[in-house]
Symmetry: C2
Subunit: 256 residues, 2 copies
Amino acid sequence: MGKVIAIANQKGGVGKTTTSINLSASFSVLEHPTLLIDADPQANASSGLGVDPQEVTSSIYEVMIGEASIRETIQKTNVPNLDILPAHIDLVGAELELVNFEERNHLMRRILEEVRNDYEYIVIDCAPSLGLITVNALTAADSVLIPVQCEYFALEGLGKLLNTIKIVQTNMNADLCIEGILLTMYDNRLRLSNQVLEDVRKHFKNFVFNTVIYRNVRLSEAPSFQKPVLMYEATSKGAVNYLNLAREIIQKQQKN
Amino acid sequence: MGKVIAIANQKGGVGKTTTSINLSASFSVLEHPTLLIDADPQANASSGLGVDPQEVTSSIYEVMIGEASIRETIQKTNVPNLDILPAHIDLVGAELELVNFEERNHLMRRILEEVRNDYEYIVIDCAPSLGLITVNALTAADSVLIPVQCEYFALEGLGKLLNTIKIVQTNMNADLCIEGILLTMYDNRLRLSNQVLEDVRKHFKNFVFNTVIYRNVRLSEAPSFQKPVLMYEATSKGAVNYLNLAREIIQKQQKN
Ligand SMILES: Nc1ncnc2c1ncn2[C@@H]1O[C@H](COP(=O)(O)OP(=O)(O)OP(=O)(O)O)[C@@H](O)[C@H]1O
Ligand SMILES: Nc1ncnc2c1ncn2[C@@H]1O[C@H](COP(=O)(O)OP(=O)(O)OP(=O)(O)O)[C@@H](O)[C@H]1O
Ligand SMILES: [Mg+2]
Ligand SMILES: [Mg+2]
């Protein structure tokens, strides 16, 4: 049974897509078959792994409303052991249409039933919002990984996100747990960065991953070559950080 | 008649709020009375200017649905000539409720009629989405300023945003024009940053502001002191950049 991890935070630009792409690629390089689901209409995860938007005939949206089969929509990527269920930029208006569906919060959970046993990890990249598609991802997930940029504004929204997770746990998915809080774009030369790291560790204690993702330009260059950073520059700090994150998650899972 | 400028881009973390706060503060320091509207439920612009979320009894949302008056909701800030219409973190669910209103795209435009003559500039900070509240802001605006981070993913969403602007121009607001594309978090030491700057200038020519906002840690520190960067460190590169941006916009307006 594949473990489903949603990567979510309504604050924009905190590293959700960068984490989704590079964590998935790290799982697959460690020989754990992985599916990356792009649940963000911006379709950054899709393009960052080389999916050609012109060739996407159906996306996660068509699968959720029953107009396409999940197996036909999943594509292979240029990374061994890594498949993707792409998004499409036209998904942007979809959220309003889903509102009218019966069981509208469970649509994603239902479509994943069919493929959960084909993968060991299923990673869902969410949009910067707490709308219906993100609620669907939290309802489908076993756990949620929360990227937090080492910046002041990033701390502000955490309370609201944790509230939303509680609501989902109470009403839709009692088994949802917090995989962890991941500090991203950390720059040890900046006072602000160190302050945020300290505050988050003090406040959220064991929920915070030991692995910290450093600010590293290779992480932001890699998507322009349609590759995860492991395939772009395997010895970069960014590649090492995400590989360590994957190991930390795998080890924690094996312990339990 | 105040000029209404919406700060919009559905890509997250590109500097919408940082631009909203610091451009507004620059207008007000140059003695142009300014109103900042926080149309993002994250309420970052509100907190970045010292609004205490506990004290916000009504926000832009209550005003839009007619439950509060705009004049009672507007607050003074600690910056002379700068007022704010705050957001509230509970606005997050509001978007779905607005769907049922008659004229749901014009609610914000209508509420601004009452105060437009009290200010020379009205700046609207939008959420990272192209949902109903952002469409409201574009319908209420005279122009839209588009912050673009000097990163690869930031280029991807521009096409979709320009499409949405065209739709608003055709259906809701024929006078909406593009104030300009603003390059943000530029780091002249990085190849990627220079590549994005070149690509955007080549592609969007005169739409791109001459002023570029450099990556500058003072910009990300200032909100933790509830001040615009001009009041935090007036000689910093970030403060100078945003003052130049305000002058560039004012000069362009005076020429026309
Ligand atoms: N550790 C890092 N070091 C340097 N750059 C990074 C790092 N993580 C992410 N970035 C860059 O920062 C930008 C924002 O990251 P990303 O797009 O992954 O965030 P996001 O949370 O998915 O954004 P959105 O809210 O729009 O979905 C991207 O351009 C990305 O390349
Ligand atoms: N020029 C800059 N130099 C350094 N840091 C910056 C700069 N501009 C913005 N930042 C920081 O980058 C982060 C993202 O900026 P900001 O929150 O303004 O973006 P946004 O587009 O409003 O995000 P969202 O999509 O969540 O609304 C913030 O922590 C901010 O302090
Ligand atoms: Mg993303
Ligand atoms: Mg913002």
